[in-house]
């Protein structure tokens, strides 16, 4: 069974179609990278998958359970409990982190597992400490987000998402707000997760990273999937739009 299935998704903002009939699926352990020019709908697609935006057409399923669908032009959702259940399957790492500034580093991680998932406090703290160590933030547990570098903030955001034990983790341009050095730190953490077979969907502009880490690459352009496949095939594709995009990148 597919972990995530998006079927014929449509999304428009004020009549402007941003996503036009996109279907994609992600299996357990699979790593999908979504690339493409700005404004091609990559982030919107992630925002639809994580229910931050409502879809205007199509259906989204997690583990075969419908998370949202459109019926007679109306966006539908399952009942509250099922919605909560489905929501616990995924996590999202934002471009600009969106950490809680008034919470310490450790509290950012433990608060949701304790107050949302109602898990055992000591156990959650233990796990959070392990996560911090994994992210290279062991000595920052009592610091506040404002005292961290951008790279540290993003690693904390990843730890915060992982603490809820999601089955799939989405990344929305996780390194776009970071300089090259900090980008490297964050990409390394994502690579480590890839080695552990974490299921991930990553919207990124880091072409080499996408090529190295992803099992599948999706090239989006103007709201549709222009090219899709194994990294080497996609990068060798003779799609003129893809060539133009990569050409522009390499010229830079």
């Amino acid at each position: 069974m597919k972990l995530l299935e998006m079927k014929q998704i449509r999304k428009a903002f004020a009549g402007m179609e941003v996503i036009k009939d996109i279907s994609l699926s992600v299996s357990e352990g699979e790593i999908v990278a979504i690339i493409g020019p700005s404004g091609s709908g990559k982030s919107t697609l992630l925002r639809c998958a994580t229910m931050l935006e409502t879809i205007d057409g199509g259906e989204i399923c997690y583990l075969g359970k419908a998370a949202t669908w459109v019926e007679n032009g109306r966006t539908m959702f399952p009942k509250k409990e099922e919605r909560r259940e489905i929501q616990s399957y995924y996590g999202l790492v934002f471009q600009n982190f969106n950490l809680f500034p008034h919470y310490s580093v450790i509290k950012n991680i433990v608060d949701a597992p304790i107050s949302v998932q109602k898990r055992n406090k000591e156990e959650v703290y233990e796990e959070a400490k392990k996560l911090l160590a994994k992210m290279g933030l062991a000595d920052k547990a009592d610091a506040y987000p404002c005292q961290l570098s951008g790279g540290q903030c993003q690693r904390l955001a990843i730890a915060r998402a992982l603490a809820l034990r999601p089955k799939i983790l989405f990344f929305d341009e996780p390194t776009s707000a970071l300089d090259p050095e900090l980008t490297g730190e964050v990409l390394k953490v994502i690579k480590d997760l890839a080695a552990e077979h974490m299921t991930m969907v990553i919207v990124t502009h880091e072409m080499n990273f996408a090529r190295n880490v992803a099992d599948k690459i999706i090239f989006m352009d103007k709201g549709v999937i222009a090219v899709e496949g194994a990294p080497d095939d996609v990068f060798a594709s003779d799609s003129p739009r893809m060539k133009e995009f990569l050409g522009r990148l390499s010229k830079e």
């Binding site: 969106n98 008034h102 949701a112 107050s115 506040y144 404002c146």
Partner: protein
């Protein structure tokens, strides 16, 4: 009349001033929250009604509002009201007026929270209530403290408006003594009282603000 006697007289009046001040804060700070929720309600009727309420509260003199609260029940509905109603009218007048201002301060604070905070909270599974209480509210408090301090300091001085319905607090006392003794000394003394109170408010609020300095 010696300065000592003036001081003693004004100190008793100051007790009344502080009571109006404290009661107004106790009622208007939470009431402002209620007004804020009305102002941002999903129902347009509610929003428009609350907007009208705020604009009347801000657009007419507080002194006039006090007069209406005090005399209104009798002249409008011939209600017979006892002497104790005067303080009730004052607290009602002040609380409803200040709640309107506080509501707008709350609104400015809420608006300055980036949407990303709501989105992060939603992704982490927080309920609407948890998001508001745990994530949004603590950050709003930090943002609005300076504006709240401003309002509280204004309130210290606005308490003097109750002399318009002959409620005897410090300012009314000062006026009485000044008129009877033909001297401006009580005014100076009252001025010092107000000034020191405002100074104390500013000092306390600065300390509360410092408590929030640990982040950002």
């Amino acid at each position: 009349m010696s300065v000592e006697v003036i001081l003693r007289e004004l100190t008793t009046g100051f007790g009344q001033t502080m009571m109006i001040f404290a009661l107004t804060l106790v009622f208007s700070l939470p009431l402002g929250m209620v007004v804020y929720f009305g102002r941002t309600s999903r129902f347009w009727m509610m929003r428009e009604l609350v907007k009208l309420y705020i604009s009347v509260m801000r657009g007419t003199p507080l002194m006039l509002q006090l007069l209406i609260w005090y005399f209104g029940p009798f002249y409008l509905w011939k209600m017979n009201i006892g002497g104790s109603y005067k303080l009730i009218a004052i607290i009602l007048g002040f609380s409803f007026n200040y709640a309107a201002y506080f509501a707008e301060i709350y609104r400015s604070g809420m608006k300055s929270i980036p949407n990303g905070q709501y989105e992060a909270a939603a992704l982490l599974g927080y309920s609407k209530q948890q998001t508001f209480l745990k994530i949004i509210l603590p950050q709003v408090v930090k943002i609005i403290l300076p504006a709240i301090t401003n309002e509280i300091i204004t309130l210290v001085k606005d308490t003097s408006l109750v002399y318009s319905i002959s409620y005897i607090e410090m300012f009314a006392k000062a006026k009485q003594i000044a008129a009877a003794q033909t001297t401006v000394v009580p005014f100076f003394v009252a001025g010092v009282f107000y000034y020191i109170t405002c100074l104390a408010v500013a000092w306390v609020m600065e300390h509360i603000e410092k408590k929030f300095d640990y982040y950002r």
